[in-house]
């Protein structure tokens, strides 16, 4: 099971560092949205993780041209990565995963395929268009 491979240090982790990392990332995305003139609100959600307990973390609700997008932290402790944040279109339910591997945020499709482009402003703006695109 998942928790068996974790080190003693990880089992004593606190959510503060993860919340701080998430807040920094969301702040960056928020700036990108402001440059595009997209309205952003930042509600909060509660997350419960076995190793961190229940904590409150911010998320983003973005009014992109094609519809609303949610940038939503899922968990710090995930299989095969060091954190996961989902980017989801509420209109199409299309979703991309932003996962942290070796300290870097990388994109994966909802099907688990690595996205070829690096995580940056251009990739985010492009994704916002793709995710809200109806076929």
């Amino acid at each position: 099971m998942a928790s068996k491979g974790l080190t003693a240090k990880q089992t004593h982790a606190k959510p503060d560092e993860w919340i701080s990392d998430v807040t920094k990332l969301l702040s960056q995305i928020r700036k990108w949205c402001e440059r595009e003139d997209w309205e952003v609100t930042q509600p909060e959600k509660q997350v419960t993780e076995e190793l961190l307990g229940t904590y409150t973390v911010p998320l983003l609700r973005i009014r992109a041209p094609g519809g609303f997008l949610y940038v939503e932290p899922v968990a710090r402790y995930v299989i095969g990565a060091e954190g996961r944040i989902d980017i989801t279109s509420s209109l199409t339910m299309n979703r991309m995963l932003l996962v942290r591997q070796d300290g870097r945020w990388t994109l994966k499709t909802d099907s688990g395929v690595n996205w070829p482009e690096q995580w940056n402003r251009n990739a985010f703006v492009k994704l916002a268009g793709l995710l809200t695109q109806t076929t």
């Binding site: 099971m1 998942a2 190793l51 968990a75 995930v78 299989i79 339910m93």
Partner: protein
């Protein structure tokens, strides 16, 4: 089968359990007034009490079967038509969790339901270790890892 269809089948099993519990409880109530009502069927009031007592465990097995079937269908689609080997459900859950970077907690929950199902099927327990509602919640949370289509 898409994700919503799997959700619906799992939730449907829970709804069937609720209906069955109401129906069996009503029958038990009827038997308290007329203990010989099932005699023609060769059944006794004790059989109805047993049925009611085992109902939740029975439906947990059913619920897990729907979950497993959905996961197997999805995994065979991921692996392509040539994929045939029947892997253990424990490994299947791990593989899906790995592919989709599942939160460790979600993976643990799915395995808790699997272990609860195993105890019911193989160990003749006094009762399930999780409620059916908890099982449905844990399994649907895990299923939300799958892409919508």
């Amino acid at each position: 089968m898409n994700r919503q269809a799997v959700f619906n089948r799992v939730r449907g099993a829970e709804d069937e359990f609720r209906v069955a519990r109401i129906a069996v409880a009503a029958l038990k109530d009827q038997l308290s007034r007329n203990p010989s009502a099932l005699r023609q069927e060769g059944l006794s009031p004790a059989s109805v009490a047993d049925c009611l007592g085992n109902l939740e465990a029975t439906y947990i097995v059913r619920l897990f079967a729907e979950f497993e079937a959905g996961l197997r269908t999805y995994w065979s689609q991921v692996r392509g038509r040539s994929y045939r080997p029947r892997i253990h459900v424990r490994d299947l859950i791990d593989k899906v969790a790995g592919r989709h970077n599942a939160p460790s907690t979600w993976l643990d929950y799915a395995h808790q339901v699997r272990e609860c199902r195993n105890k019911i099927v193989h160990e003749q327990p006094v009762g399930p270790t999780l409620t059916l509602t908890a099982c449905r919640s844990y399994l649907c949370t895990f299923l939300s890892l799958l892409p919508p289509t």
